[in-house]
């Protein structure tokens, strides 16, 4: 990029996180509120790195019971069977629907894992002060933000299977303990993506020092 590029922060301007109005703080020590919408002004999200780390560490811990514990327990004619998330994928595959199996595999296994790895990678890059490829990193962040919600798929699948298959005493399906952990993983990774400030990827080390107070 050309040498004349200037970030709003370098120019001493604040961009409102709510309405995107640019304003110049009267007092650099006390940034105050957006004159248009009243949102508290900040140069960068406060403690963005710490919050994002905390959320992805919590999500990583929940990811283990989410996959190890059953998400659905089916009772049919006296016999009981429990299914984990992977078990559900295998069931869809063996019952002849590999496209649906693939969708669930991507949404429930690959997207949550990919989000955790991608956010950790972005955080490490920012913390080391050397972002290798800012364009690709920004693109990766946007992808994480965009597809995160699709992981909720398995929670909806479980809810509607449970809601419909209530034909006591012949057959019933109950949610397993894994669902709540899986739901927590999805919510925590979505919050982590929202907490991460992508502008940190573009800040120069000098700027970063100035904001990370």
């Amino acid at each position: 990029m050309s040498a004349e590029t200037l970030s709003a922060a370098e120019a001493g301007l604040l961009s409102c996180t709510t309405c995107h109005l640019l304003s110049r703080p009267a007092d650099p020590a006390n940034l105050g509120h957006c004159p248009r919408c009243g949102t508290r002004l900040v140069f960068r999200r406060h403690n963005s790195i710490q919050y994002t780390w905390a959320l992805i560490i919590a999500a990583t811990i929940f990811y283990i019971p989410a996959n190890a514990l059953p998400v659905l327990t089916t009772t049919a004619l006296g016999s009981t069977e429990s299914d984990t998330i992977i078990g559900g994928v295998i069931y869809l595959y063996t019952s002849g629907s590999w496209p649906l199996a693939l969708i669930v595999l991507v949404a429930s296994v690959m997207i949550p894992l990919g989000k955790l790895v991608a956010l950790a990678y972005l955080l490490i890059q920012v913390q080391r002060g050397q972002v290798r490829n800012r364009h690709d990193s920004t693109r990766m962040y946007r992808l994480v933000e965009l597809i995160g919600r699709w992981s909720m798929l398995d929670v909806f699948v479980d809810a509607f299977v449970v809601a419909l298959v209530q034909l006591q005493p012949l057959m019933s399906v109950e949610p397993g303990p894994g669902v709540v952990f899986f739901m927590a993983v999805v919510v925590l990774t979505m919050l982590a993506a929202q907490t991460f400030d992508p502008r940190l990827l573009w800040d120069t080390p000098r700027e970063r020092q100035a904001f990370d107070g």
């Binding site: 990029m1 590029t5 200037l6 970030s7 709003a8 922060a9 370098e10 120019a11 301007l13 961009s15 709510t18 309405c19 995107h20 109005l21 640019l22 957006c34 004159p35 248009r36 919408c37 069931y91 869809l92 019952s95 629907s97 649906l100 969708i103 669930v104 800012r134 920004t138 962040y141 946007r142 933000e145 995160g148 919600r149 699709w150 909720m152 798929l153 398995d154 929670v155 909806f156 699948v157 479980d158 809810a159 509607f160 299977v161 449970v162 809601a163 419909l164 298959v165 209530q166 034909l167 012949l170 109950e174 949610p175 669902v179 709540v180 739901m183 979505m190 992508p198 990827l201 573009w202």
Partner: protein
């Protein structure tokens, strides 16, 4: 020309007047900064009203029915969450209810109020608060994810019983497309330009929106 800082990389730049459907992208990171709209208020309002009707039908009519060995069961969107709750997964039930019913409903309601209020500028300050809340709800409104979830659930159940799609299902499908149309036609920048400022002054530039936020 309006000056703006890119949301993703903070690059300071000017937004030129845009032709209808024209897009201004960040020179550094490529993020879409602004879009030119033909009709930034009436068109999204029309889509929002249509989406509200579809949303009401989707939530009140049965989503699908199931029959097996002479027994029948139907469920609504909310019924999915309710059954989860009754089976002892209260937290998951709340998440399902929030993402499938509360967030889409609140998102629509806030957008409806905002779009009606900005028809006669200047709109009062609380309209900005509503727009902010609408943006907050957006990522949590997961009707399209729910639709795909229902599809997978139906396939799983189809092995056990006969499933009959209900009116609610078609309405939910229509809602997904109508909401997408709302989000494409809505221009938050134009909306903000018509809202009264926090210090009580009128948006001086609602007749001349380009002057808003300009850095001297």
């Amino acid at each position: 020309m309006e000056a703006i800082a890119c949301r993703d990389c903070d690059l300071l730049q000017h937004i030129p007047p845009l032709p209808p459907r024209g897009k201004a992208r960040c020179a550094r990171c490529g993020e879409t900064l602004a879009t030119g709209h033909v009709d930034p208020f009436r068109l999204p309002l029309a889509f929002t009203i249509a989406a509200t009707i579809a949303f009401i039908i989707a939530n009140t009519m049965p989503l699908m029915g199931l029959s097996a060995v002479g027994r029948e069961a139907t469920t609504t969107i909310f019924g999915g969450a309710l059954e989860m709750w009754q089976q002892g997964s209260e937290i998951t039930a709340l998440a399902v209810a929030f993402c499938a019913v509360v967030a889409p409903g609140a998102h629509l309601l806030f957008l409806l109020v905002v779009l009606i209020s900005v028809r006669r500028p200047p709109a009062p300050r609380w309209v900005g608060e509503m727009l902010r809340s609408a943006h907050f709800m957006e990522p949590w409104s997961m009707t399209e994810v729910m639709m795909l979830g229902i599809l997978v659930a139906l396939f799983k159940i189809a092995q056990l019983a006969t499933v009959i799609p209900g009116i609610g299902m078609f309405a939910a499908g229509a809602f997904v497309f109508l909401l997408a149309a709302v989000l494409v036609t809505l221009d938050s920048r134009e909306v903000w330009a018509r809202i009264e400022w926090a210090d009580g002054t009128l948006p001086a530039a609602h007749t001349l929106p380009d002057a808003l936020g300009t850095v001297q």
